[in-house]
């Protein structure tokens, strides 16, 4: 299976290089882009190469027994999360970008807070709170004298429960990207709309919403892919989905090939969705009108309406952040056993890994997106799409997809050094931080790529031409024009990757070097050992480390880009 996989990879890479070299306007930028894109899609190829090794007896068993459960549960979960994140994310984005009311600034960044929570931690806290053994139901029983089963109570460990948990932590993706889109929308077109007699209501549905659609879909795609990749929550709630199925096949049935094939099935499903979405908006291109000078007139809300907006907007913050954070705080202070001294190095490890991964992912995305803008190369496009699928895969699977090629390379290096210099160098790449950063980049490329691409697409190609006609080369144009114009998109990408890496544990668990630990791994280990309360301090630390960048970045994201561009051009 392995040799077949490597043969196929080589074949594909050769084909790609050959085709790319044939390209008329081949330059170093598109060459780099191709190399990066292909490297990043390598793990996905490794995983999906399992498709060629044929279906074993495991498949008969799966199809006879549990496969239909996996499919239907995953699908229902996706539906629930899609409905939930849209319902919470889009109105929140609209209120905080178009309206003016008391406490708006506060709400704007508070909406992002749930982003700092790993979904499974929120699931644990709510289970602790609402489960039959938790304080709420215990109180009901004591107060009413009823026994379990004699009263109705929402069963948190259920499919709807899982959908709610995931919605609470994933709606910020939709919110962030949609809000950025609303902010970049030209006020002129809105004003034209209004002068034509459209009500605000109609203008929203006929203009703002369709214009923001790519961003909404991009945010939704991220939320759904994260849902598919989730293992912690569904596993804890005992719901059989594709992810739990992959691990059950891998660990329980001991069939890594069938597990990889299940993962490939999941991937092809995601790929189909992405292609469908692209196809559905193939003719629509939305470039914002860049002649936007004045800040748009915001809709001033009356006091009563402000109250309503707060009421609507505050609930996701309350349930997605404040309540779980309060529970964790209570557990940390009153129940948990932990050593405070170990936390500094854990926090530092988490922080610098997350920051490095975020910077790397955003830089690579910028390079890839810009190369595509200059000269669309179908090979780069497909390689980027393929590596973007990594976001829907559980981290463990990505990690194995990375270990295989890295260890292969390592073994070649070892042989080389042994035969030429007679030194034993050991594994240089696999089991190092390089492998970890590689994994994070593959896993979260879709996130940064989505944000960067939406930002870049908004800029009219005329601007590129104008800037180039002033004698700037491509890189100068990128530096002076695009980067300042896309500032908020770039920061958004940085922020999401940062927080995502902070929360990541499955890939970190397998790929990390000796004696290296992060907050997320630490929290997961305690939680999976059924010591939920002892995991609380580490979970709170994840939130705390994530909080500062969330606040700082959300402030600069909300600034409008126009000023910095004019500054950039003046410097010229």
């Amino acid at each position: 299976m392995l040799s077949l996989a490597s043969f196929l990879q080589q074949l594909i890479i050769r084909l790609m290089i050959a085709k790319a070299l044939n390209y008329k306007t081949f330059n170093w930028l598109s060459g780099c882009a191709l190399l990066i894109a292909v490297t990043l899609s390598l793990p996905i190829f490794v995983v999906s190469s399992s498709v060629f090794s044929g279906l074993g007896p495991t498949w008969v068993h799966l199809a006879d027994t549990v496969l239909s459960d996996y499919v239907s549960n995953s699908f229902l979960l996706l539906l629930g999360v899609a409905a939930g994140t849209l319902l919470l994310g889009v109105p929140a984005a609209w209120f905080t970008s178009v309206c003016e009311f008391r406490g708006k600034v506060l709400l704007t960044w508070m909406f992002l807070l749930p982003l700092a929570f790993p979904a499974y931690i929120v699931a644990y806290t709510y289970t602790g709170l609402l489960d039959f053994a938790g304080p709420v139901q215990s109180f009901i029983r004591e107060f009413s004298g009823l026994k379990y089963g004699e009263y109705w109570f929402f069963e948190i460990r259920s499919l709807p429960g899982a959908a709610i948990m995931l919605t609470l932590v994933l709606y910020p993706y939709v919110y962030l990207l949609t809000r950025a889109a609303f902010l970049q929308q030209s006020t002129n077109s809105l004003e034209v709309c209004r002068t034509l007699g459209y009500s605000r209501y109609r203008a929203f549905f006929h203009l703002s919403l369709p214009m923001a659609r790519p961003a909404i879909i991009a945010g939704l795609t991220l939320a759904l892919m994260e849902t598919l990749a989730d293992y912690g929550t569904v596993q804890f709630f005992g719901i059989s989905t594709f992810t739990t199925g992959i691990f059950r096949t891998f660990y329980g049935l001991g069939d890594s090939t069938a597990a990889a094939q299940l993962a490939s099935l999941l991937l092809s499903f995601v790929a189909m969705l992405i292609i469908l979405e692209r196809y559905s908006r193939r003719q629509n291109r939305y470039h914002s009108n860049s002649e936007q000078r004045a800040a748009p007139a915001l809709i001033k809300l009356s006091k009563t309406n402000t109250c309503y907006v707060w009421l609507i907007c505050f609930s996701p913050i309350l349930f997605g952040f404040l309540l779980p954070a309060a529970v964790l705080l209570y557990w940390s202070v009153c129940e948990a056993v932990f050593e405070a001294s170990a936390f500094f190095s854990l926090a530092w490890n988490s922080f610098y890994l997350a920051i490095s991964a975020a910077v790397i992912a955003v830089l690579l995305s910028l390079l890839l997106a810009y190369a595509r803008r200059l000269k669309s190369n179908p090979l780069v496009n497909s390689a980027v799409t393929i590596s973007g699928l990594g976001y829907a895969l559980p981290g463990t699977i990505i990690a194995i997809g990375i270990l295989i090629p890295l260890a292969w390379l390592d073994h070649r290096l070892i042989d080389l050094f042994e035969s030429f210099f007679d030194i034993e160098i050991g594994l240089l790449l696999s089991g190092s931080l390089f492998a970890l950063l590689f994994a994070y980049t593959v896993r979260f490329l879709a996130v940064s790529m989505g944000a960067v691409q939406t930002g870049l697409d908004k800029i009219k190609p005329n601007i590129d031409n104008a800037a180039r006609s002033l004698g700037n080369n491509n890189l100068k144009v990128l530096q002076l024009v695009h980067v300042p114009l896309m500032r908020s998109s770039l920061l958004t990408a940085l922020l999401i990757v940062f927080v995502d890496v902070l929360k990541e544990f499955p890939a970190t668990l397998i790929l990390r070097p000796f004696n290296f630990n992060t907050l997320a791994v630490h929290a997961f280990e305690l939680a999976s050992d059924e010591r939920l309360m002892d995991a609380a301090p580490a979970s709170l630390m994840i939130v705390a480390v994530g909080l500062l960048p969330v606040i700082l970045l959300s402030r600069s994201i909300s600034k409008r880009p126009a000023m910095s561009v004019s500054k950039g051009i003046k410097q010229q």
């Binding site: 001991g254 270990l403 260890a407 050991g426 240089l428």
Partner: protein, 343 residues
Amino acid sequence: MIKKLCTSLILLTTTASLFTSATVLASGEVNVYSARKEALIKPLLEQFSKSTGISVNLITGKADALLQRLKIEGKASPADIFITVDAGRLQRAKEAGVLQAIDSAILKKNIPANLRDVDKLWFGLSQRARTIFYAKDRVKPSQLSSYEDLATSQWQGRICLRSSNNIYNQSLVASMIENIGTQETETWAKKMVANLAKPPTGGDTDQLKAVAAGVCDVTIANTYYYGRLSNSDNASDQQIVEKVKIFWPNQNNRGVHMNVSGAGVTKFAKHKDNAIKLIEFMSSAQSQAWYAAVNSEFPVLKSAEISTVLQSWGEFTADPIPLNKLGENNRSAVELMDRAGWK
């Protein structure tokens, strides 16, 4: 500014990554891949370092993922020891060919024969029983007898079980397959699943909590989870221990289902001698008593001291089945549970 920051960050991380993997090759060390959680192994490793001067490098992770990493790294793997819980996993490591045989008089003396591999590839280091727990106020111990009995109609709507994704349940079913055959085990599993009070969710501790809260009357869980609750200062944990009691099933025939955590030396260990020393250290009276005290596990060393909590559970007969059977039957067990509708 940002550009400079990025470059320096990238440089920093690449150099850091090169160093972290290079340092572990020095001697006077031993490198451990452990599926035991850090909190349940590190204190012991630190004691080992203190008494021998050998420093221990540790990576913890999920058993199957670590095993996969070992396999992929092949002969260049830095790991010297693979530690994991559950005999099924130890057997899987053996079948994957990542372990080597170890001849050690100390290990032979300290560890009973059925708790180590026949080919000397792995050694059990601590034991846990997967037994029945019941609600004191709703179940009389005389109503309970065996695992098999949980499939009878008297338990209709009264049982809580953990998901079959969990290896402990898989190993229990694997042992049943060995003892009473596939056919009978499947009928048993089907009937027991039909007796469930609620769909399987949560971990072992959650099952104990469910019994205490009155969701169900009996459950199956590992002893050390109950031991942990017993050792806790928390009032709500003490309440659970008060309401839920332990029962040793199958005392008239084969005995309680037991499992182990264990370790083996990797095939391409660079510090083989140190690795053997570490495993021997973990089988010593001192370490064995530590397991019993800290995680309420039963020592494999007969002479080791056990805590008062463990003593309070009383003597019981343990199923003497050779533990590699659990690993061999694992796949059949999972398939069986799928067919039985055990989620």
